[in-house]
Structures are given as C-alpha cells and as structure tokens.
C-alpha cells in the first residue's frame, strides 16, 4: 500500500482513529462527555476525510474500491451517524457513565458501514456488514432495563446471522462457479461460468440477494423490521434505518452492477416480485399501525421496494443516458430517504424517548400546539415519505416514476402508484393526530425554549425542503458522481 492509497482510505482511517482514541480515553479517565465530543469530532473528521479522499479515488487492494459515489454515501451515513449521536446524547440516561461504550460501538458500526459501501470484494462485504451488525446488536441491547431492547437485539442477531449464513452460502456457490471473489472478477467470469454452471450461479446470486434483502427488509425478509425498530432505542433505530440500510443498499447495487447479475432474466423476475410485494405489503402493513416506530418500519419496507425498481430498471437500461438517469435516481432517492428518515426519528427520539407508550399515536395528539417545531419536522418528514411536492421525497419519487416510465416497467409502476396511494393514508393519520385541537391541548402554551434536538430537527427539515424545492444543485452534484 502506498501513501496515495492511504489517502484514499482517509475516512476509514479517521473512524479507526476515533475508535482508538475512544479506547485510550476510556482507559485514562471514563467521561462520557469527553467521549461524546471525541466521537463527534471523529465523525466531523471523517466527513472531512471523505472530502479529502476525493482526490485519491482508486482501488485499494482487492478489497476496497474508493470512488466518488462511495465517498458521497460515506459522507451521508457519517452525517446520519452524527445525527444519531446527537440524538443519543439525551437518551440512555440510566446508563450513566457507561455510555462511552455505546459511542465506541457507534464508531465501529459506522466503520463497518463505510467499509461496506466501499467494498469491492466478498470478504470486505462480509466483514463490513458483520462489523456493522455486531456493533449494532450491542447497541440495540444497550439499555440496561426493559425487555423490548433485548428482545429486539436477540431477534435481530439471530435473523441477521441466519441471513448472513444464506449470504455466505450464496457467495460460496458463486465462488464455486466463477473462481473469483472480487465483484469485477465475477463480472468478468460470469459469461463463461453461466455457460458452464448456470444453476449454481443463479441460485448463488439468489441467495446473496436474500441475504442482502434481509438487511434491507424487503418482503419476504421483512418480518424482523417492526419488532427491531420498536424495541431498539430510538437513536439506534434511526441509525439502523439510515446507516445500515443505506450502506447495504449501496453495497447491493455495487455488487449487482459490477458482478453483472443483471444478466439473468430470472433474477430480475425474482427481484421484481420482491419489489412489488414490498411496495404493497409494506404499505398495507402500515395502514392501521398506531406505533410510530413500527409504522416507520413498515414504511421503510415499502420504500426499499420503490428503490428496487431502480435496480431492476438499470438491468434493462438501453443507453448510457438512461443508466445515468437511473443511478441519479438511486442517489437521489436514497439521500432523500435517509434525510427524511432522520428528520422523522429526530422528532420521535425527542418525543417518545425510550418509553414505548409514547410511541403510540395518542402521544402525538395536538403536537402542533405543544411543540410546533417538532410537529412541523415530523409533518414534513411524513409528507416527504408520502411524496408530496416541495419535499425531497417527491423529487425522489419523481425520479423513480421517471425511471419506471423510461424503462417501461408498467407493472412496477402500477405497484409504485398503488403503494404510494395507500401510503398517504397512514402518513396522514399521524398528521391528523398532530393537528387535533382538544380543549386541554390548545390551552397549553408551546414550549418557548429551544433544545438542541430542535436545532437538529430544523436543520433536517430545512434539508428535506431544500432538496425538494431546489434540487438542481444536488442533481448536478449527483450527476458527477
């Protein structure tokens, strides 16, 4: 490895450094405040590092491939982690001085995610995913009391490990068929291998998709989502929903494209079935859900169903321009989704905290009159999820519909439209609850004081709106990735 490669690895190095510093700090004097600041500084450094590394994009060994796209998403998920970190500050109050372990786990998990995003090899994919996952298990189970976090952690661990096993088995089969472990190598071999052992290759790919699909919680691998979302501490849920899912989706698209899985029609058919059922089932499941965390879980199922449309479309892209449009669509949608989800969880974290009862719809009655800022934040987030214009979610949906039309994926388009139409209902239910004006609620004066989380909410809300109403700069930026 030469120094240029080291420069390319700057975000990873920064995160590792943060982890090390955290450990050293813990060994000197345990102070959760200092740990928090170290972590925050580490994340900021990582973001700087990601920018720095843009001048050194290249493959680093066979394991990692640092490119602009990956660096952008690294930045994004580190940003998401930063938000999660800020949200975490108020949480886990019972854990007292032990919180620095949580920060260390958070850093390790982000490290896993960044590696996952930049992976170009099965080994790095596996390790990144597992690093992210193992740290997450502990983060989910972090609260000392309560049964739900533990149950969530167990469920996530077992199911996730099961999915990893599927993924690994799939890898093994693909390896057996192609004799290569790098994405590019597989892609190069795929034609020959397909001629030789089509079944093994396709089956292996299908198992890989199953394993990754689990992390994305697409139907039929979605069952864990609501329980884990609900049980996990809210900042961790936010982390899971944005960092984990985002990174896995990036890795999936990389693998899918570089290993040229799109050459198999049947795989596309299977993916289409998954996409359609996700779009519909996710929305149906959320329809009458009263717990906002579970609701967001179900809605995420649908959203990754929508995203799969882009993946399917890119398989049949006719031209470079079309492929560019589709990759822009993925970038935009994923970004919009991550920002929106963060905006939603920023509010949920503040309002619901770790009290499961406060996640219920009843706790949101009249929020507009109690916490206007929070209510506005959640409203904008929900509208963005629903794809109402002026929000980032709308432009994302606009992209996806465009993609579906350009690629003439009519069935998927129908499912997308149907799903979106159903989705409006449950997003509105919460908005309606927030706007309720019962006599007691209206009398309470809104809180005048501004908390740090309000600032987070406002920042995210502004981002979601800005991306929705002035998307051009971002589109240009995404186009260059």
């Amino acid at each position: 490895m030469n120094s240029s490669q080291m420069m390319a690895l700057m975000p990873i190095l920064m995160l590792s450094l943060t982890a090390v510093v955290l450990m050293i700090q813990a060994s000197i004097k345990r102070d959760q405040n200092v740990a928090w600041w170290i972590t925050a500084a580490g994340f900021l450094l990582t973001i700087w590092g990601a920018g720095y590394a843009r001048d050194f994009t290249q493959s680093v060994t066979i394991l990692l491939d640092v490119d602009d796209w990956g660096l952008f998403f690294s930045t994004l998920i580190v940003f998401a982690s930063l938000v999660s970190l800020i949200l975490s500050r108020e949480s886990f109050s019972r854990e007292g001085e032990r919180k620095e372990e949580y920060y260390l786990l958070l850093v390790l998990s982000v490290l896993g995610a960044v590696i996952l995003i930049q992976s170009s090899h099965m080994a790095s994919l596996l390790l990144g995913m597992e690093l992210m996952g193992v740290a997450l298990y502990a983060m989910i189970a972090f609260p000392e009391k309560g049964e739900l976090p533990l149950e969530a952690a167990i469920k996530y661990l077992v199911l996730s490990a099961c999915a990893s096993a599927m993924l690994l088995f799939g890898f093994a089969l693909v390896y057996a068929a192609t004799g290569d472990l790098t994405y590019a190598g597989i892609g190069a071999e795929v034609d020959v291998a397909y001629g030789r052992e089509p079944l093994v290759l396709v089956a292996g790919s299908a198992m890989i998709l199953a394993g990754l699909g689990f992390k994305l919680s697409v139907v039929p691998f979605h069952m864990w989502t609501p329980d884990v979302y609900q049980g996990a501490p809210t900042p961790v849920t936010a982390f899971l929903a944005t960092v984990s899912k985002g990174a896995v989706f990036v890795a999936l698209s990389r693998f899918y494209l570089e290993a040229e899985l799109y050459q198999y029609d049947t795989l596309i058919a299977a993916l289409s079935v998954v996409a359609v059922t996700s779009m519909l089932a996710g929305n149906w499941l959320a329809l009458r859900q009263n717990n906002i965390k579970r609701l967001l879980a179900y809605s995420s199922i649908a959203h990754f169903g929508y995203l799969l449309v882009a993946l399917i479309a890119i398989s049949i892209a006719q031209s470079i321009a079309q492929a560019q449009l589709i990759s822009d669509a993925v970038t935009f949608y994923l970004t919009a989704y991550i920002l929106t989800t963060l905006a939603a969880f920023a509010v949920v974290a503040q309002l619901s905290g770790e009290d499961d009862g406060k996640s219920m719809i009843g706790a949101y009655d009249g929020l507009f009159w109690r916490h206007p800022v929070q209510a506005l934040g959640l409203t904008v987030a929900l509208l963005s999820f629903a794809g109402i214009p002026l929000t980032a979610g709308f432009i994302g949906k606009f992209y996806l519909i465009n993609v579906a039309i350009e690629s003439q994926l009519w069935f998927l388009l129908v499912a997308l439209v149907l799903g979106s139409a159903i989705g409006i209902y449950y997003y509105l239910r919460f908005i309606f609850a927030m706007s309720k004006t019962s006599a007691t609620i209206v009398k309470t004066q809104p809180k005048a004081a501004f908390s740090g989380q309000d600032v987070v909410s406002i920042v995210l809300l502004t981002l979601v709106l800005a991306l929705g109403s002035w998307p051009q700069p971002f589109i240009e930026f995404a186009g260059r990735l």
Partner: protein, 104 residues
C-alpha cells in the same frame, strides 16, 4: 495426500445438508442456546463450501474467507452469548417463544 478423487459436488452436498439441518434446527428450537448452535452449524456449512470451492480452484482465498467466517462467528457468538445472559436475567427463561413482547 491429494484430493484428486473427491468430487466437488459431493462436498457441496455435505455442506448443503449441513446448511439445511442447521436451518431446521433454527426453525424448531426455542431455546436460545440451541438457536445459536444452529447458527454455528449454518456458518460452518458455508465455510465448508468456501473451502471446498477454494480447493476446487486451487486458491487460498477459500481458506481466507473461512478464516474470516471464523472471526465473524466468534464475534457473533460473543455478543450472542452476552445477550443470552441478559435474556436469562430479564425474562427468566431461555425460551424465545416466551420472550415475545412485540407483535402486530
């Protein structure tokens, strides 16, 4: 020694069987410890497949992945067993069907 005569698909057959058995165990056991064991079986089956494939191609990569799987398994088991301790403390049982508070 050489493994010239062992057909790859036989080894894969074994690993597939192991994988299926592990899956079966995962589905039927309710005790969290057995569930973790089943996961080990599945990971091991995948590892076997990797090593076999590596041997098939005469590459060290299969074994390296095996090594990585090993560390993955170790990390997961470590956290998993940590969770087992907490489960026992908070739920007073290891039966996962009884440790079920969330649904719907």
């Amino acid at each position: 020694m050489d493994g010239l005569n062992i057909p790859l698909n036989h080894i894969l057959l074994v690993s597939t069987l192991l994988f299926s058995i592990g899956m079966l165990g995962l589905m039927i056991r309710r005790n969290i410890i057995f569930i973790l064991m089943s996961l080990e079986v599945m990971l091991n089956a995948a590892a076997l497949a990797f090593v076999a494939a590596g041997a098939h191609w005469g590459q060290p990569d299969g074994q390296i992945i095996f090594l990585l799987i090993l560390s993955v398994a170790a990390a997961e088991v470590a956290v998993g067993l940590g969770l087992v301790l907490q489960v026992q403390r908070r739920f007073k049982t290891l039966d996962m069907d009884d440790a079920n508070r969330m649904r719907g």
